[in-house]
Each structure stands twice: as C-alpha cells, then as structure tokens.
C-alpha cells in the first residue's frame, strides 16, 4: 500500500491519542519508518500491524478501527487534496462509487505498483445499489464501510448499509453491501 494510507492512520491516531499515543502504537507495531512518503509503496503488513496495535491501545476491535479509519481517510485525507478530483468522478456518491474503477485505473497509469480493489455497482432502485467490493487483500471490508460513511459526508448525503454479505471466494475477499441513500432530513 502507498504511504498515503499509513500517513492517514498516523493522522487519525494523532487526532484521537496525540503524539504519545502514536509513539505507543508505532512501538507496539514495530514501525520504524518515521517519515513515510505518501506516494511511496510500503509493505501491507505495516498497516495491519498499526491497526492491531491501535485496536489494542484504544480497546476496540480491529474491524472498528478499520471502519473509523475508512471514514477518516475520506473526510480528512482525500478531502484535503483530492476533493475536486474525486468530484470529477461523480456528482453524487453513487456516481463516484460507479466510477471508482476508472479512478483507480487512472491512478495506476502513474503509480504502476498500485493494486486497487474492484467495485461493481448494480442499481436496485434510483436510491438503492448493491456495491460489490473485491480485493486481493483480506479483512478490509470494514474499511469500505467507513469509506461509505466518509463519501456520504463528502456529498452531504445519508447512506445506510441495509445489508452486508461476505461472498465465498477462493482467494482475497469479496463483500456485497446493499447501500440505501436516504432522503435529506
């Protein structure tokens, strides 16, 4: 994964636990790199280890940390530098989700080592979709749940995951999310 992900976790931990909390988590996760570069590719295990350590320190399940992190990633990391670009890929949350593969392909033209997941959108109704998330990485479905919360915030919408189902696959992970866009209150 690219350093942008690691840096985002760093930002989230700093926000909640401060510098001391980060030191504790980084020590527990045995993360040596003090200066991760956003556009440099790092080993996936760093993220998994940081999530485990953060879960331990914050007394939460790793899946909850991942979900919080997904939300933080959109709200704080992507919103800072990439908000306009993201909105080029969709005027609504559903449009963005539908165009995520195009976005990932564009990223891959520059960052050739990028191994993005795949998102398939199937419209059930105008305000209801099945989002199928497929990744070669295991255990990141909760991160997608958090991403959906973040994306809803980005577009000022309210998205509810009505249903979630893990699909049996021989390798990697595949999850179906039934997402309902609720009318503004």
């Amino acid at each position: 994964m690219y350093g942008m992900i690691h840096k985002s976790i760093h930002g989230m931990v700093l926000e909640h636990l401060g510098e001391e909390g980060w030191k504790k988590i980084a020590d527990q996760a045995e993360v040596d790199e003090q200066h991760l570069l956003s556009m440099e590719s790092y080993d996936d295990h760093i993220v998994y280890d940081l999530v485990e350590a953060a879960a331990d320190c914050m007394n939460l399940k790793p899946s909850q940390i991942l979900e919080n992190f997904g939300e933080h990633f959109v709200k704080k990391t992507l919103s800072n530098n990439y908000q306009n670009l993201l909105k080029n890929f969709g005027q609504t949350s559903f449009e963005l989700l539908d165009n995520l593969n195009k976005l990932h392909t564009s990223i891959k033209t520059t960052f050739t080592g990028y191994r993005p997941p795949t998102f398939t959108v199937r419209y059930i109704m105008l305000d209801e979709i099945d989002l199928i998330y497929e990744s070669e990485r295991i255990g990141l479905s909760p991160f997608v749940r958090g991403l959906l919360t973040g994306i809803a915030y980005l577009y000022g919408e309210s998205l509810v995951i009505a249903y979630e189902e893990k699909i049996d696959v021989s390798s990697g992970e595949q999850t179906l999310f039934r997402v309902v866009r609720e009318p503004p209150k």
């Binding site: 350093g3 942008m4 840096k7 003090q34 200066h35 570069l37 956003s38 556009m39 530098n81 990439y82 306009n84 670009l85 909105k87 080029n88 890929f89 969709g90 005027q91 165009n99 195009k102 976005l103 564009s106 990223i107 033209t109 520059t110 960052f111």
Partner: protein, 368 residues
C-alpha cells in the same frame, strides 16, 4: 440528425463518438452541423447551426491554420483549444477530416479543457463521462495533487532532518562543553588531594597534618561524588539505567538519606529536618534506589547552596481520584533559582547564574 441512421456517410462520426463523448461536426466555414448529446449539455441545443467562432474563442492553434474563420486542411490533426466565457466552458481536441450526412466535414473530438476551467472558473466540477478513456488530463490533475502531497512530505522530511542536524550539532557542542566542564570540575578536588598529600609529607606539626588529611579526604569524596554523577548520567544516556520495584519502609529510607547527608550538613552547621505525614503507609512500593538518589541530589544541592541553617524535607500523601501520590517538598532559604531559569533545571551541565559559590557542580544533579 442521428448519424447512426445514415450508414452511407457517417462511419467516421460513429467511430469518433465511440472514442470521445464530446464530438461536433463542422463545415469548413465553422458552422456547427452536429453536436454529441454530452456536448449539447455544455453548449446548449441551439449550438447546432451556429458558427463555432461565434460560440468559442479560438485559443489555439496558431491562426495560420484557421484563416478568416475558414478551417483548412492544415488544421486537421492540430490540437484545437476553444474557450467560452459566455458558456463557462472550454474544449481541447483534434480536428479530423470526415463525412457527415454525405458531405465533406471536419469532426472535432474533444474533452473539457481542464486547466482553462480551473484557471477561469475556480473549483469547477467536471464529469469523468465527458472525457475519452485515453485522455490524460485527469491523470495529470491527479499527478499535480500527488506532487503537491509529495512536496509537503518532502518539506516535512527536510524540516525533520534540519531539526535532527541541529540537535546533533547541539549534542556535539554539549559533549564538548561537558568535557570542558568536567575537566575543570575534576581539577579542583584533584588539586586539593594532590596538594594536601604533598604538604602532609613536608608538614611536621601533627595538628596541621590532621587538617591536611581532612582536606585530602573531603576532596577525594567530592571527586568520587562527581565521578558517580557522571557515570549515572552516562548510564541514563545509554538506556541501561534500569528501574526496579520493591516494597520498603519509607522511614528507613529517610533515615538512610539523613545519615548519608549528615556529614555535609554538619560541615555547614546546618540542621536537617525530615517530616513524614502520618497518613503515609509504613511500607511503600516503588524504585527505592532512584527515589533515594533524586532526594540525595535535591537535598544535597540545597545543603550546597543554602545560606540558612535549616533544610526542611516533608513527605506527604496526595490523591487524585483513586490514584495516590507521594509528595516530597524540600524547603530552604538559599539563593533560589530565578523563575526564568526554572525551564533549564533539567538540562545537563546547567548551573544557575546566581551560583557564586565555590562548590563543585557538574550541573547534573537535577537531571539525574
């Protein structure tokens, strides 16, 4: 005007529509003959039949290719840049020669001109559906974002390196100061030992010899204290100063402390008073050696610099919710430390500007 209905003459247009969502057909005089559906969303239905040059300003290529509002064969293949403040839209694309409605025509396959839109309209949102799949403008924008982020990373990195360099330089300077300081501090008691021993050999009067022995002894002790402090500091710096937990009697620890400091206090005719709050438990658990060392340094320093005849050390109990703390207060009536100097007291080798005494000091007492 659906080109798909005219199989005979619209092959080029159909291909162009597959390659790009924003397509228009133009006569050689710039009349718009056809607009794709997505382009109509930007230029309006009325665009068909109007002159391209009335709707848009031609920003490129060089006017030589399009003279007197007439498109020439030379302009085919050139990058065409068109902008319109009125439409709040800009296009970049290529003209190719083709057929539309059985007539010779120029076909413009285009995409939104992102840089113009961002420069002129600010935070404009462009739909990815307006771009040909191979258009690299969005990737370019992404690269700009990534480069901005990379630049910020490198700036932070560079700042950290500068800070580390500064700290390393300061540490180097501190070491140099340390060596200079310690050499000076060692020399004084060492000189006391050497001179006393030399004079003892020459001295015939027993009373004066005893006094010289006393001086040699106290100088040697001062030297030992100084070396112990330097060794402790070195152990802390190397991270080998291990903390140990044990249960011990506070009263006994205070008694040992008093015994260790009694000689120093007696030299200055000073009275040491130790008060232990009755609320404190008889046995406490903690790092006895470190606490003793800290108290020895603080009270010892007080004896060293105080001009009063009393040093009062109080041990009390403080609680914060369920947490209980041992609180130690040391009170004297000495020269004190100015408020602005308090931030420095835990810095190595620091001594107060008020310190005019001739006592040996490594400036490590508070740090240790």
């Amino acid at each position: 005007m659906n080109p798909r209905n005219n199989n005979k003459s619209s092959i080029s247009l159909v291909l162009c529509l597959k390659l790009s969502p924003l397509v228009m057909c133009l006569s050689e005089y710039g009349e718009i003959l056809f607009c794709s559906e997505r382009l109509i969303q930007h230029v309006g239905k009325d665009a068909v039949g109007q002159s391209l040059f009335n709707l848009f300003t031609l920003e490129g290529p060089a006017r030589a290719y399009i003279k007197n509002r007439r498109i020439t064969a030379d302009s085919a293949g050139e990058l065409l840049l068109l902008s319109s403040q009125k439409l709040q839209f800009a296009l970049r694309g290529q003209l190719i020669e083709g057929m539309y409605d059985a007539k010779f025509t120029y076909i413009l396959t285009a995409a939104p001109w992102l840089n113009w839109l961002y420069d002129n309209l600010g935070d404009v949102f462009i739909d990815v559906k307006d771009f040909p799949a191979s258009d690299s403008q969005l990737e370019y924008q992404m690269n700009l974002c990534a480069n901005r982020e990379m630049l910020a990373d490198l700036k932070n990195f560079s700042k950290s390196l500068q800070q580390a360099k500064k700290e390393a330089e300061q540490a180097g300077q501190a070491k140099t100061r340390f060596v200079r300081h310690i050499s000076h501090e060692i020399r004084t008691p060492l000189y006391g030992v050497i001179t006393s021993l030399k004079l003892i050999q020459e001295e015939t009067q027993e009373q004066r010899r005893d006094r010289l022995f006393e001086i040699a002894n106290s100088s040697a002790n001062a030297l030992m204290d100084l070396i112990n402090e330097v060794l402790d500091f070195s152990r802390i710096e190397d991270g080998v100063f291990a903390s140990s937990q044990e249960t011990y009697s506070l009263q006994n620890m205070v008694r040992d402390l008093e015994a260790g400091l009694a000689a120093k206090a007696a030299e200055k005719d000073m009275y040491l008073q130790f008060d232990i709050d009755r609320a404190l438990p008889a046995q406490i658990t903690g790092d006895k050696r470190s606490l003793q060392r800290i108290l020895y340094n603080i009270v010892g320093n007080t004896i060293k610099y105080s001009e009063s005849d009393l040093v009062n050390t109080r041990f009390g109990l403080r609680n914060n919710g369920d947490d209980y703390f041992l609180m130690v207060e040391v009170e004297d009536y000495g020269i004190g430390i100015a408020e602005e100097e308090l931030v420095h007291i835990f810095e190595p080798f620091w001594t107060s500007a008020n310190n005019k005494s001739n006592e040996y000091s490594t400036g490590l007492d508070y740090l240790l």
